[in-house]
């Protein structure tokens, strides 16, 4: 048990932040989603979501592609393989500890 608890110290801090965890969990459940969809599903403000997505992109957990559909600008986000592994590992550690 104590070993499991100690694992919490090594938990990935990028994904542990609630808003980012929510974004990653949402992206894990779909193939890809745009900024607007993520904003509505998470309830985050535009600036907040943008900042968190940038952090996740920097860490290599989320891939962001800027494109257009007609006149509408689309910022498409998808979880990378690395992001998927990190989320799975995070779930394992938390489950083992709690």
């Amino acid at each position: 048990m104590s070993g499991n608890i100690q694992q919490l110290a090594d938990i990935d801090r990028i994904i542990h932040e609630p808003a980012r965890l929510m974004i990653v969990a949402l992206l894990a459940a779909v193939e890809e989603a745009d900024f607007q969809y993520l904003r509505q599903a998470t309830g985050l403000t535009q600036g907040n979501l943008s900042a968190h997505l940038s952090k996740l992109e920097e860490a290599g957990y989320v891939a962001i592609e800027k494109t257009f559909r007609g006149k509408y600008p689309l910022t498409i986000c998808r979880l990378t393989e690395r992001g998927r592994d990190v989320l799975e590992n995070y779930r394992k550690v938390i489950r083992a500890a709690l």
Binding site: Q36, Q40, I76
Partner: protein
């Protein structure tokens, strides 16, 4: 927000994805409109069967309606939803591509649905036969316990329809709809209406409910101001 976070740790990601997909499908009312129209079309078809009970041509018309309108309806509606979403709603509800459907799971689900439909159809046929035989023998409509055989079909359909609304759709507005569907099934059973009339009323109600609910959601979404996609 907290709901999602609570589920991440304890729930299977596929289960979260499934629930999310349902939310996505119902977010703009289009799916509900499609389901409502399909159920209404079934009720109309059932009504036509009552209206044109006699005559070879009338029967042909009813079968043609089923083949030409009912069969291609889900595919046509699905395509329409995709187009409408891309054309009018992308700046309001956003874009999301769901994970590809698991073919094995889809096959099992379709098999179960078809099996259930077969059981319901066989049951309806059995009930109709029983009633016809009873009326030919001059014994009036038989009673099985509380209701007539047709009455049990209404109660069964009401309970199954209501349960689908409450437990499968899982939208607050369908809680009342589900309870009303059960109540309507019981009411029809108590009134002793004929099988076709009762089924038309029951499915007409369910179709109208989905259509109205979906239309309200859709128009509310349309009235929302468009937001930039970042």
């Amino acid at each position: 927000m907290s709901e999602i976070l609570n589920n991440i740790v304890n729930e299977n990601p596929d289960a979260i994805a499934k629930r999310l997909m349902q939310k996505v499908e119902f977010r703009d009312g289009l799916q509900e409109i499609m389901i409502g129209i399909s159920i209404l079309m079934f009720a109309v078809w059932n009504g036509l069967v009552i209206a044109f009970q006699h005559g070879f041509l009338a029967h042909k018309g009813v079968i043609s309606y089923f083949m030409l309108v009912m069969m291609p309806l889900p595919v046509l509606m699905g395509l329409m939803i995709k187009k409408v979403r891309q054309r009018f709603l992308i700046d309001k509800v956003g874009y999301v591509k769901l994970k590809p459907v698991n073919r094995k799971q889809l096959g099992i689900r379709q098999g179960i649905t078809m099996g259930l439909a077969f059981i319901v159809a066989a049951l309806a046929m059995f009930v109709t036969l029983k009633m016809v035989i009873a009326s030919r023998n001059g014994g009036g409509v038989p009673h099985w316990g509380l209701f007539t055989p047709a009455g049990w079909v209404f109660v069964g359909n009401g309970i199954v329809g209501g349960a689908i609304m409450i437990f499968r759709v899982r939208l607050t507005r369908y809680l009342i709809g589900g309870v009303m569907m059960v109540a309507l099934g019981i009411l029809l059973a108590l009134n002793g209406v004929s099988l076709n009339v009762g089924i038309t009323i029951l499915y007409g109600f369910a179709g109208l409910l989905a259509l109205i609910s979906g239309s309200v959601v859709f128009f509310l979404i349309l009235r929302q101001p468009a937001e930039s996609g970042e």
